[in-house]
Amino acid sequence: MTELFAVEDLRVQFSTPRGQLNAVRGITLSVRAGECLGIVGESGSGKTVLWRSAMGLLRGRKVTRTGSARLEGRELLTLTPKEVRQYWGTHIAMVFQDPMTALNPVRRIGSQFVEALIKRKGMHKDAAMARTIELLRLVRMAEPELLVRKYPAQLSGGMRQRVMIAMAIACEPKVLLADEPTTALDVTVQAQVLELLSDLREKLGMAMVIVTHDLGIVAGHTDRIAVLYAGEVVEMASTLDLFANTKMPYTEALLKSIPRLDGTSTDMMEVIDGAPPDPMAETVGCFFAPRCKYATDKCRHEHPELVDDGTGHFYRCFYPLGKQS
C-alpha cells in the first residue's frame, strides 16, 4: 500500500523562559491512502504539536523542528507560509474540537462557504451556492436551503461541527485531520459525528487522522492506532491488534480507565496515578516508569527503543505484556 503521508523522526522543541521544552521526541509514523489512523494520548503528550508541526503549521523563532513530514513525497516542513496556505483546504483539511474557531461568527453560513469555494476552487457564485447546499446535505443537515441563511451562533454544537466538516471536505482533501472532534459533544451527537466521518471517508476515499485522549471512541472508527506518551510513540498497531494483544503497560492502563457500560460495577475505578513527566526535565529510563506497576531497575535507567514484534505491532517496553519472561 502506498504511503500518503509520512512523518520521519520528527522532533519539536519550544524555547521557553524556563528552558527547552521537548514536545515531540522523534516520532515516525505514516498514513496510507484511504486509511484512518488514531493518535491517542493524554493532555500534554504532544499529539497536537505532532500534527500541527507535521502539517507545516508550527513555526517561528521559538520553535525548533527537525526530521521530515511528507505528503505524497512533498516535504511540508520547508514550505513557505504561502505554500502552506495553498496546501490547506485542498490537500489537507482540519476539524477541531471547537468549530467556532473555524467559523466567522458574524457571517451567514452560506456566504462563508461561497467565499471559500470561490477562493479555493475558482467557482462561480451560483455554482458555489449549489455546491454548498450539496455539501450540507452530504453531512446530513436537514433543510440546507434554510441553513445557509443562518449565523453560526444559531446552531447547536453538533450542527456547527457538521458545518465545519462540510467546510473541511469542500475541496476534497486527501487527508482529513480531526483533533478531538467530539470532545465537546454529547454522547449521542458524538456517535452521529463519528459515524458521519467514517461514512464520508469511505465515500470520498480520503485518509483520516483522528487525534484524541479517548481510546474508546477510536476503537470502532480507525484502522490503526498510535499511542503517544511524553512526546514519543509507545505503541502502534492495527486497531484490532492493539486491543486484542496490548503490549504496553501504559496502553493497558489507558484502556482500564475508560468508563464502560459492561464493566463490573466496582466502587472505585482503576486509575493511572501520578502525571506524565515534566517536558522540561531531562528524563532517563522509560518515561512511564514512575507510574508503571511493572517497572524494574532496568526501566528506571535505560530508555526502551520502539521495536516491531515482527507483525507490524510496535511497542516501547522491556517487558511487553502477554509474553512470559
Binding site: G44, S156, V187, T188, H213, G216, A219, G220, T239, L261
Partner: protein, 329 residues
Amino acid sequence: MAGSGYAHLRDSDDVVLALRDIVVEFRVGGGRVVNAVSRISIDVRRGETLAIVGESGCGKTTLGKAILQLPAPNTGQVMFEGTDLTKLPKEQLRSARTAIQMVFQDPISSLDPRMTVGEIVGEPLWIWGRGSEADREAKVRELLNNVGLDPELVLHRRSYEFSGGQCQRISIARSLALEPRMLICDEPVSALDVSIQAQILNLLQDMKDRYGLTMVFISHDLAVVKAVSNRIMVMYLGKICEVGSPDAIYSKPAHHYTSALLDSVPVPDPAYQRNNVALQGEPPSPVAPPTGCRFRTRCPAASPLCAAEEPLLREVAPDQFVACHHPRL
C-alpha cells in the same frame, strides 16, 4: 399540562431533598418561552447519589441550579431537610445554601486566575467568618491534602498554572470548605481526559464517604455515572423519562430514550459490531416541545397515542419507573 407523575417518589424519613413539581421557564425574545424544566418531582435520600442524565439542552443544569435557587423555579417546592428553599427570605436562604455546594464542568474558567489556590479554597471560610486566621489556614491545608494536592506545593500558586484535573481538585476542595451536606456536580469530568476522569470520579466517591455527603451528579454520559450513582433519573426536554436503580437502567432500560442513550456510548472494543446510530438528529426546541410524549419525534415506537396523551411515570419493576405508553419491558 400534565406532570411527569409521582409514582417514583419515596416516603421515608431519610429523604433530604425533595423536589415537587418544579417548573423553570425562561422568557426569550418575541414573547416566546423556553420550557427548560416542566413539572419535575424527584427525591434524594441521605448518603445517596442521584444521577441526572440527558442530552444537551434537556434542562439538567437548570434543574440542578433550581435546587440552589439560581434562579429559583417559577413554581414548585424545593424541600431541603424539611425546609422549602423557595419560601425562605434572602438572608436565611444565603445561609441555607452553605449546606449545598456545586462543582462545575469547566474547572479552569470557574477559578479566579488572580487568586492563589490558598485564597480560592479559603474564600468561603473567610466570607462566612469561620474560625480564626490560623484555623482557616489549617482547614485549607487539610482540604488540599484530602483532594490529593500537596499544600506546600500549591498554596501560593495560581490556578492557571495547573492542569484541568488539578483545577477540578481545587474546585472540589473549595466546595467542601463549609462542610456542606450536599454536593451538586454538574458534568464534573466531561472537560477532562479519560485517564483523569477516573481519578476525579474516585476522588468524589472518596469525599462522599469521608464527609458523609449526599450527591446529585449531572452528566450526558451514562457510562460516566455508572460507577458513582445509586439511582438514575433520565431526562428529556424538561421531563423525566425513567427513574431507577443502576441495575435496572443498565441491564433492562424500559424507556426507548434510555435505551438509545445506552446505545450511543462508545464501546471500547474494535470487534464490536455497532448497529446504525441509535439516535438521529437532536432534540426539538424547548420553545415548542412536542405534545404528548416529548420524545415521540425521535422514538422508533411512537404511536398516535403518544402524540395525544402524555405518559405518566409508573412502576414497571421494583424501583424502576418509566413514563412511556409502550415501554420496552
